[in-house]
Symmetry: C2
């Protein structure tokens, strides 16, 4: 029994020029997955009439649902409505209610509507309007070729997200017979992709041997350096048999045994969210003292709503003078060991803790490159320390990649050091959290 199939079509010159990454495709794909649709293809084309027409027709032939993003704006390169109408073989019709709403939108802001915005009131004749509560571009949907529900959404992320949830998902549920797929994600930080696979292979083999449905489970690996996420999806086999949620949950114990401390969580919740929640539960505060990460660790923590309960702040001491003045790192220590060293990392953590009055403080100092490496301390050398009232723990790593990769990896490892510290203190543990 095949699952209903979806295709995602994103439209925009900026995608084909590589000017932006396609977050809309990722967002729509994630929504489809949680609905139980199988996304079999994502296609991006430029703002060109013929390319859009061809892509919509192709998608409609092969899919039960086609989600289209972009090209509904007011500018001259916004061609989606016209092209989708052509793909459907219908004319464009102007929606008087939308014209009125556009005029109200601009009046409320004390502005005259630019004439260009009028085209946002046009959509294929006979289509359903998808209202946009936030922006000026409504979307539209219709069934093409008797099978495929085509829904067109504006490319502005927050408008797309809201309209997908409020306008499109109810129509998808009404249009196709959905079979949500059970899914379980394991989150590891500490070893590479093939090492993770080798470690968990016996557990996967035992899972597959358990039932015909379990034999069909799809395993996928996602390397988000330095993290590795392993996803298990209970897709149906040719006879429609699937693994149960319970069968997937039975992986927890053997995967924890196989991956040890590298496994920090199960489910969608990321490391910053888990760190913030565990700190909040323990009523502890955490400050950061950052050099090469330049504020990334603080930014990751404060991306979590509610971070204010646990995060008083950060001292970003990029210059050595700031390490001395703001974190109280002894100048002699820097002179003797260098700013990227164990003693300085420990002193930064202790100094940050004192400066911000926190229970814990994590410090990061490293060489992100492209310059600054030496034979002793090559680019990618990073020292971490975690201080509490009793002292500090330390870790030295050699990370790889360009400046951005090393900085992001350093921020992730800093949070992993905090996590490990919380686990040691019995204040955090691997658990399922979405």
């Amino acid at each position: 029994m095949a699952r209903a199939k979806a295709q995602i079509l994103t439209i925009g010159d900026e995608l084909l020029a590589g000017d932006i990454v396609d977050r809309n495709a990722a967002h729509l794909a994630a929504r489809c997955r949680s609905l139980g649709l199988e996304v079999h293809r994502i296609v991006s084309v430029a703002d060109r009439h013929d390319d859009i027409v061809a892509a919509v027709r192709e998608a409609a032939r092969a899919s039960d649902v086609c989600l289209v993003s972009g090209g509904l704006g007011p500018t001259t390169d916004d061609l989606t409505s016209r092209a989708v109408a052509a793909a459907a073989g219908v004319a464009l019709a102007r929606d008087g209610e939308v014209v009125a709403a556009l005029e109200r939108f601009f009046a409320a802001r004390g502005r005259t509507m630019p004439p260009a915005n009028l085209q946002q009131a046009d959509r294929p004749a006979g289509s359903d309007r998808l209202d946009n509560a936030i922006g000026t571009a409504p979307g539209f949907s219709f069934v093409l070729g008797g099978r495929c529900l085509v829904a067109c959404l504006p490319g502005v992320p927050r408008e797309l997200d809201a309209m997908m949830e409020q306008q499109v998902e109810p129509r998808v549920r009404a249009h196709v017979d959905l079979q949500p797929v059970a899914r379980r994600i394991y989150r590891a930080l500490g070893r590479g992709e093939s090492a993770v696979q080798d470690a968990i292979a016996p557990a996967i083999a035992r899972l597959r041997a358990g039932s015909p449905g379990a034999a069909a489970v799809v395993v996928h690996y996602r390397a988000h350096t330095p993290e590795i996420l392993v996803g298990f999806e209970a897709v149906p086999d040719a006879q429609g048999r699937t693994a149960s949620s319970e069968e997937l949950c039975e992986l927890d114990a053997p995967l924890q045994a196989a991956l040890g401390d590298d496994l920090y969580g199960i489910g969608e919740a990321d490391l910053p969210t888990r760190v913030v929640r565990s700190l909040a539960r323990a009523r502890l505060t955490l400050a950061t003292a950052e050099s090469c990460t330049g504020g990334l660790v603080g930014a990751a923590l404060t991306a979590v709503p509610g971070a204010s309960a646990v995060f008083p702040g950060a001292i970003v001491a990029y210059a050595d003078a700031a390490k001395q003045a703001r974190l109280g790192v002894d100048a002699g220590l820097i002179a003797e060991h260098g700013a990227v060293s164990e003693p300085v990392a420990r002193a930064m953590a202790a100094g940050g803790r004192a400066a911000l009055g926190s229970d814990l403080c994590v410090a990061v100092t490293g060489i992100a490159g492209p310059d600054g490496g030496t034979p002793d301390k090559p680019v990618g050398t990073v020292h971490f320390a975690l201080a509490d009232a009793r002292g500090s723990s330390h870790r030295r790593l050699r990370l790889h990649g360009d400046r951005g990769t090393i900085r992001r990896a350093s921020a992730a490892w800093a949070l992993k050091l905090v996590w490990d510290g919380l686990v040691e203190r019995g204040l955090a543990s691997v658990q399922a959290l979405d």
Copy 2:
């Protein structure tokens, strides 16, 4: 004269599940553009043999170059080599040199090669190997159907990037006749997409009237909230006529006149890069004092290589106590006006400047949400201040969107305030910088 056409094919369950955004597609597209290839389609499919075969065949029929990313790793879901061989109608062949290199790779790290890695030595018979200097998975390339150069690369970004530049681009240059397209990007922060379009429409009309080639220029708008980038591409018209680089450059003056202070730059270089370079040229240092951004402004500045010359550090004072203790903000000021207010923003900037001994300091304090808004100060209210030795300037904004959007927009606006301050002082100006 049509340009050589490229298609990008990215492979991976994680893409179709929406687990990751497709940065590889964006990177490869940007490289194609700079080479002078027209990317006409980007397709993503899951790790499924038949889907990969179909996508490769389709791409090869319609394109001169097909770049494939992903599925060359050591895990069981890595199917690209086998599927691409099937699309080409050839067998897989194991490359003894790669087996030896893999064994050396693991030996150098003191590890035994997991058997799974052996499949990385397999590629379609008759293909050229694309060496991977960084990781374990080599790529391969070959010409399919007499027309299309197919190049398969691993999905690990830094491996993909290096191999694209070193291995694939020379082969592309040898395979097709490249016609690089002149391109000019204008970067604005301060008004919305349709307002930008309206303001510059007369300048675009004058450009188009100038020559047949200029009439064919493609204009695209990219909203990266709160920034709007406008790109002009001198693509050929049906007769092969294109605008010259000089014609595009003649847009500079009228666009600057039309957009005023909202236009901060021309070309690829982003706002943090321009701020860091202008500060370095003026021999000034800039610190940050951050609340709602949690370190994002410092992180943006330190993403620029060489930031250490201008950025001593940041004080992230998320809690009010930290604003008082670390930035010297008067408790009475917070009590009277609230932490999100003009007086507190100005005090944070002055205090950060004093604490970090910098010439300038930019401060941000705002309500990122989802909670914490009031009728007086709704979510999205953000105060900015820029302090120097003489005092401070201030700006209050009401930003829109979710927590992440408001935080990113706040960080961008903070840098724009610094930029405007540098422009006022005669230390920065709109200029072309890639």
